[in-house]
């Protein structure tokens, strides 16, 4: 057995190495038209961090370097706030080397027993102020506008300590590929933000440097001098503008980026324009790289009064069929959520109802940390349980699970309305069904007396409940105050996502979005969609690869389509096609519905090798799902000819109808010669590495 496990591990490592060495960029090596979108790219530009900016963030030198009022002291290497104070409660850091306008990651360890501690990333402003009410490691990513931050108590709190404070710049944010707005000015920095623009990476050989720009004074009384990449406007008393009058920046479907530094002693009205959009600049710093998808041919510097030197650090251009959505409410949302519960580590919260029981925190969990809680009975003759009502859970095979350990009671009843229940013996992991049985159940031994117990059933999950039990065969009995069981890390998810680890969820927008959880664009099935500029395929062959989670089984839903539909030279992939729980690989006006059905919610890697010159409708589509060829029920053959010149619509037909309800992981569309079997397999494996479908 050990040998087999070792061999499987070696194979898994070999597969990972093969995937790691492959890049979809290789599919576009000959400049084939197409697109490549990757929501997981957020990890690339949100991970690299610059040097630590906070000295003595671990308080190893007491409060040296901190502006701490009298209620703060250092105890056991942590900054401790005196309980109950509000006056004189500030702990601040000034002038720590932060450059204004930078996106930074702020991290610290907080403990707090009651009340809230306020964190201000800018000492002088309430912007982005956070009220901290729960213990844990806090990680914030913020665009900061000041060289200071502080903690203080606005109302009385107890047990507040802070340690390991860190501020580091996110150095790769300038190469972000997702933006919250359609113009490309505000990068997506976290899950649950809208995606108004996602850049096509198929042309990404790095940014194309836009050199040869010529800057010319166009208005005002300031004196303008240009030296290399430096433009100086001196002594302006009326608004003075310098405009780029030549240079090689194209104005087609691409995105321009400008990184600029502005230095001045005294000036007003300092602005930089990029493709027609103005942005006020901060003094003496390199501001965040700003991109713009606008097609306006205007790059400009403005100074209303004073003298300013602008240094153009980067001015470049990223070509490609970038997909955007101008309507705010119609933007898909970047997400990584799996666990449908909330407050999964805070059972004192009102989201969890305690019935004839109380909960206590701070017990050692299966991982050796102190995140376990205890479900403690009261003395009533009654049910003793904790329960939560999840929302938005699909009708599917759902798995409700939680880690448990015997306390004074050796049994637990895990129950879910709609799922059924089972009694678990917490000494040996055995179980017996409740009168309403689940479809499946199990217990995984985690060691040290801990078990992850789970039940599954194909139904809508209602209340998720955990009972203490005295005999393992009943859930209502005479309680003993304080007796009970230990528990931690509850989780409710579709069963076919059970391979993913437990996911901490505080709220719908605050959850563990670590790399274990695939990133996806969440399309709401109502009005979300993206569209590219016009693509010129110039080929009668196209390859489509997509990681997809389908949440609905009925009605045509458009995943991706070339053109607006119902024409002679397009293709489309729908998920599903009608009431059949299938996928439809459509070509021209003919359907290509899969023979096998895929009831939602289901996660799949879809691929199609469209070839309009092939002999049959099946061969014209060459559909594959999860790396295997699939047969089509209907495969209406199409006539020969190149694919049409048109935009690519994602998530909705023509941005107006047939909305897709589900998740989109990477999407690759390539127009060009048929790929080899090895290329297809490599690409599917790469997409699956970002999707987790098989």
């Amino acid at each position: 057995m050990q040998l087999r496990a070792t061999r499987l591990t070696a194979i898994a490592h070999a597969v990972r190495r093969a995937i790691a060495s492959f890049s979809p960029a290789s599919l576009f090596a000959a400049n084939e038209p197409g697109v490549w979108y990757d929501p997981s790219d957020i990890d690339r530009y949100m991970t690299p961090l610059g040097p630590e900016l906070v000295a003595n963030g671990d308080f190893s030198s007491g409060l040296t370097g901190w502006a701490a009022q009298s209620s703060w002291s250092v105890v056991a290497g942590k900054a401790v706030l005196q309980d109950g104070v509000t006056a004189n409660s500030q702990l601040a850091k000034f002038d720590y080397g932060l450059v204004n306008g930078k996106l930074v990651e702020i991290r610290f360890d907080l403990t707090i027993s009651s009340g809230s501690l306020i964190f201000r990333p800018n000492y002088a402003s309430t912007t982005n102020q956070q009220a901290l009410t729960t213990s844990g490691t806090k990680v914030l990513q913020l665009l900061v506008a000041a060289n200071s931050f502080e903690f203080f108590a606005l109302s009385a709190c107890t047990g507040a300590t802070i340690d390991n404070i860190s501020v580091r710049e996110l150095t790769a944010i300038g190469t972000a590929t997702m933006f919250q707005d359609a113009a490309g000015t505000t990068p997506v920095t976290a899950v649950e933000q809208p995606v108004g623009l996602i850049l096509d990476k198929s042309r990404q050989q790095g940014f194309e440097d836009v050199t040869g720009a010529v800057w010319t004074k166009t208005s005002g009384d300031g004196v303008v001098t240009v030296s290399g990449n430096q433009i100086t406007i001196s002594g302006a008393t009326t608004n003075t503008t310098v405009t780029r009058t030549s240079g090689s920046i194209p104005f087609a479907s691409g995105i321009a980026r400008m990184v600029v530094r502005a230095d001045w002693t005294s000036a007003t009205g300092v602005q930089r324009w990029l493709r027609g959009s103005p942005l006020a600049l901060a003094n003496g710093v390199s501001n965040l790289a700003t991109m713009s998808l606008n097609n306006a041919s205007l790059e400009r510097f403005d100074v209303s009064t004073g003298t300013v030197t602008f240094t153009v650090i980067a001015f470049d251009y990223w070509v490609g069929a970038h997909a955007s959505q101008t309507t705010a409410t119609s933007r898909p949302v970047l997400s990584s959520r799996v666990n449908q519960l909330v407050k999964t580590e805070d059972f004192a919260d009102a989201a969890w109802t305690k019935i004839e029981a109380t909960v206590a925190s701070g017990f050692t969990d299966s991982a050796g940390t102190s995140k376990a809680w205890k479900l403690q009975e009261n003395a009533a003759s009654a049910n003793h349980l904790i329960t939560i009502s999840p929302t938005g859970v699909s009708s599917t095979t759902n798995r409700w699970s939680v880690e448990v350990k015997a306390g004074e009671r050796n049994y637990a009843l895990l129950f879910g309305s709609g799922i059924g229940g089972a009694y678990f013996n917490l000494t040996d992991g055995t179980s017996v069904n409740f009168s309403t049985a689940p479809d499946n159940k199990g217990a995984v031994n985690l060691g040290n007396g801990w078990w992850r117990i789970w039940i599954e059933k194909n139904a809508v999950a209602g209340n998720c409940q955990l009972y203490a039990s005295d005999t393992g065969s009943r859930f209502s009995y005479q309680g003993t105050a304080g007796s009970g069981i230990y528990f931690a890390f509850p989780d409710l998810r579709p069963a076919n996502q059970s391979a993913l680890p437990y996911q901490r969820v505080n709220t719908a927008t605050d959850y563990d979005a670590g790399p274990a959880f695939p990133r996806y664009l969440k399309f709401d099935g109502v009005d979300d969609s993206l569209v590219t500029p016009t693509i010129t395929p110039g080929a009668d062959k196209a390859q489509v690869f997509a990681g997809v989670r389908k949440l609905s089984g009925t009605g045509f839903q458009m995943l991706v389509e070339l053109g607006t539909g119902l024409n002679e030279s397009s293709f489309a992939v729908t998920a599903p096609s009608s009431a059949n729980n299938d996928y439809d690989f459509r070509l021209v006006t003919g359907s290509g519905q899969t023979q096998t059905v895929y009831p939602p919610p289901t996660t799949n890697v879809l691929s199609a090798g469209y070839d309009r010159a092939a002999a049959t409708g099946q061969l014209q589509r060459n559909p594959r799902i999860n790396g295997e060829p699939v047969a089509l029920v209907t495969a209406v053959p199409a006539g020969p000819g190149s694919f049409m010149i048109a935009p690519l619509y994602i998530g909705r037909r023509a941005s107006t109808s047939l909305p897709f309800n589900g998740h989109l992981y990477p999407l690759i569309v390539r127009f060009g010669p048929t790929l080899t079997e090895a290329q297809i397999t490599q690409t599917e494996q790469w997409v699956n590495s970002k999707t987790g479908a098989y």
């Binding site: 809208p194 705010a328 109808s657």
Partner: protein, 135 residues
């Protein structure tokens, strides 16, 4: 921080609401293009937009809160009126000729909540209106 809203309008006020939204913000262009009806058949009796909107936009529009009882019935538990005067003033400043009464009519007819879209549709007894034929 953007705010999540589901905004449903009767078809009769939708054209004006589209104009107002497009006037208030570039991100408001293209709202309410998804039709709704009680049976799913066209023509649409209502239109829906759902997703994240800016705090400024959220401040201006009305919203309602609802709770569902054990019997499944929905009860409205609260509402905020929005800021029709500010909307009216912003429209006029931007050159959209609209009266305060017209803005109020849109606001009165609007169903705006923080509910997920399919929850709101279920409460109102509406579904997406789709063409009957295969696309």
């Amino acid at each position: 921080m953007d705010a999540f809203r589901t905004l449903i309008l009767p078809a009769a006020v939708t054209p004006l609401a589209r104009e107002i939204a497009a006037t208030l913000s570039p991100g408001g262009i293209g709202m309410w293009t998804t039709g709704l009806s009680p049976t799913g058949a066209e023509p649409a009796t209502h239109y829906i937009s759902t997703g994240l909107i800016s705090p400024e936009f959220a401040f201006m529009v009305p919203d309602q809160t609802w709770e569902q009882g054990e019997d499944g019935a929905w009860t409205q538990t609260g509402s905020t009126p929005g800021n029709p005067e500010a909307v009216h003033a912003a429209c006029n400043t931007a050159g959209l000729e609209v009266t305060l009464a017209q803005v109020l009519a849109v606001f009165d007819a609007a169903d705006v909540t923080e509910q997920e879209p399919f929850t709101a549709l279920g409460r109102l007894g509406l579904v997406l209106a789709q063409p009957n034929t295969e696309p």
